[in-house]
Symmetry: C2
């Protein structure tokens, strides 16, 4: 088994280092190989996703990813910007199924913007389609408008699209995931406006016939954005497209108040996967040793479970994290009165010790 380790930019290197120490502590046998990605790769090789990095990722069973991006790359042409690396990895590895849990840990209820009774015990799984939709649809670009409100004016455009097999496979992923949970799926669309999402809704409804044990409901994306704020605990599994999933998964993550704790997994049809924290590269605190490594450590646990067939080792990491939280250690992002503030390294140490 081989893991491609892509720490990336900002706090990426610091948090991935802790995840690796945790993996090492498990005494399993797999190979790890590190490569540059994002801004770091651009600086060294002139491209955010160099050929060698992509090759390594493709050959590995799993990719452990830190974070990419920094304001200093904002002025680069789009194809050279750090975030293109992540889009390129998703596309080239066919990582169509993004798992974004939004969990509120008991000890961290107070970190949420929401009133405790609304957020305590939250455990949502957002399944976002990750290789289709308006992210990759062609054609796109700039041109002269031939119709619309201002024919003759300069315009820019993108294409939203989903094909039947793309919707079918992500729907199956969602129904299968729900089977292992409370057996409820909410499919989020905008079928009242978009052809693409009327099609999405129709297909999810069809696929649902194969899962009579699962309860399915449909919700418009604007309503979902509201219901997440009003009563997040009413959701269990949410399945949606790439664009809506981008927005709703971040909204849900922030509702927990502890985005520094939330892992993610992006899988293809052979269970090869990319694992990364839900948060970003946080250039403002990079290099200071204060970033929370737990989302990355928990991403490594997801990696063990989903791609490396080591569910027991995954359990050990997750228990260790719970133990460390219970012991009162906190990085700055989740610190509160009465708990002990620690840095990235100390938090990693504590998880290693708990394992």
């Amino acid at each position: 088994m081989k893991i491609a380790v892509l720490p990336g930019d900002g706090i990426g290197t610091e948090i991935v280092a802790e995840a690796i120490r945790v993996l090492d502590a498990l005494d399993l046998s797999f190979e790890m190989e590190t490569a540059l990605v994002g801004g770091a790769a651009y600086e060294a090789h002139g491209h955010p996703l160099p050929e060698a990095t992509l090759k390594l990722a493709k050959e590995a069973d799993a990719v452990l990813f830190g974070a990419v991006g920094d304001w200093k790359y904002d002025k680069l042409d789009r194809p050279l910007r750090p975030e293109q690396a992540i889009l390129g990895l998703r596309k080239n590895l066919g990582l169509f199924a993004n798992f974004r849990p939004a969990i509120c840990y008991e000890q961290l209820v107070g970190a949420s913007s929401l009133k405790p009774e609304l957020i305590a015990g939250l455990d949502i799984l957002i399944i976002r389609e990750l290789t289709g939709d308006i992210y990759f649809g062609q054609p796109r670009g700039r041109r002269t408008a031939v119709d619309g409100h201002f024919p003759g004016a300069e315009e820019a455009f993108d294409t939203m699209r989903y094909s039947r097999p793309e919707v079918e496979r992500i729907a199956r992923v969602a129904f299968e995931a729900a089977r292992k949970r409370s057996k409820r799926v909410t499919s989020v669309d905008k079928a009242n406006v978009l052809e693409t999402f009327q099609f999405w809704k129709d297909i999810v409804t069809e696929v649902h016939k194969d899962y009579p044990d699962i309860e399915l409901d449909h919700m418009y994306v604007d309503n979902a954005a509201m219901q997440l704020v009003k009563a997040p605990k009413k959701f269990d599994v949410i399945v949606t497209g790439n664009m809506f999933g981008d927005i709703l998964s971040d909204e849900a993550a922030m509702l927990t108040g502890s985005i520094g704790m939330l892992p993610s997994a992006s899988l293809n049809s052979s269970n090869q996967g990319l694992y990364e924290p839900s948060h970003g590269s946080a250039p403002d605190i990079a290099g200071k040793g204060v970033a929370n490594p737990l989302a990355t450590i928990l991403s490594a646990a997801m990696m063990l479970r989903f791609s490396l067939n080591q569910a027991e080792a995954a359990d050990r990491i997750e228990s260790a994290v719970k133990h460390v939280l219970a012991s009162g250690l906190r990085t700055g992002d989740i610190w509160s009165e009465g708990t002990k503030r620690v840095g990235t390294r100390e938090m990693g140490d504590a998880v290693v010790a708990a394992i």
Copy 2:
């Protein structure tokens, strides 16, 4: 001056009736004419936006709109569903500028999901472009995929697009609005992924040169969805496209906890406008006399200010609403211990009395 009154479906008729009583109480001289829209129009005339209704709306200086929609129309073909009426009105009247205030009234802080300190005093203005983007872009439909992940498969697609003049005019609306407020605009885009929104960002930046007194920043839509939850009061004016605006304006409205209080205005370039509450038709409570009419009454105030040049009358309505809230009257949606629960009619009575 002429007002087209389109009560629509569900609670629409009840809440619009109270807004009309409030308008009558002001003793101004304008003509009002009522017409069917949405499901009600479909039942009577087989179309959610009959020709006569559209004609009336076009000829009027302003449209006072209730709400449309009911689950029972879910099975109709898309062009016949109630919400097509609202899309048709926006398109045919050219209502490109949607004003969606998200205000948290002092007395209603407790109704929010958020902790009081995060929401008290909230006063955001979301300006959503309303006639462009993926809502109206052509082509759209179903076809056989010629490329993508599954060439040969059935697919559905839509076109996102913005032309230069469309972005310019909504940017100007936002900067002008910010001038009357705290002089800050956040433009929300997804320039890291979409051509349309890189174009949007470029043009907003250009137009900004004409407004050196206004502070402009840019934020990705996923981050905006998070920051609204984390620290909503950091925003003042938000300007964004039709699709992102749909999601973010509803999220922001729900953050206040009192969506039953939030009006909206949709204007064209001659200040003709459509005014409607931010909430929907609530078929579950329709006909029971319990709906909150205040969002509609406040929409009538916006109508007086923006389209009918009666700012003073608008002020009178807004003061009356504040007075009624201060007196402790509440409809069910905003009721809390220690306040007096009233129905739709009594709430209307109280506002009329306060005027």
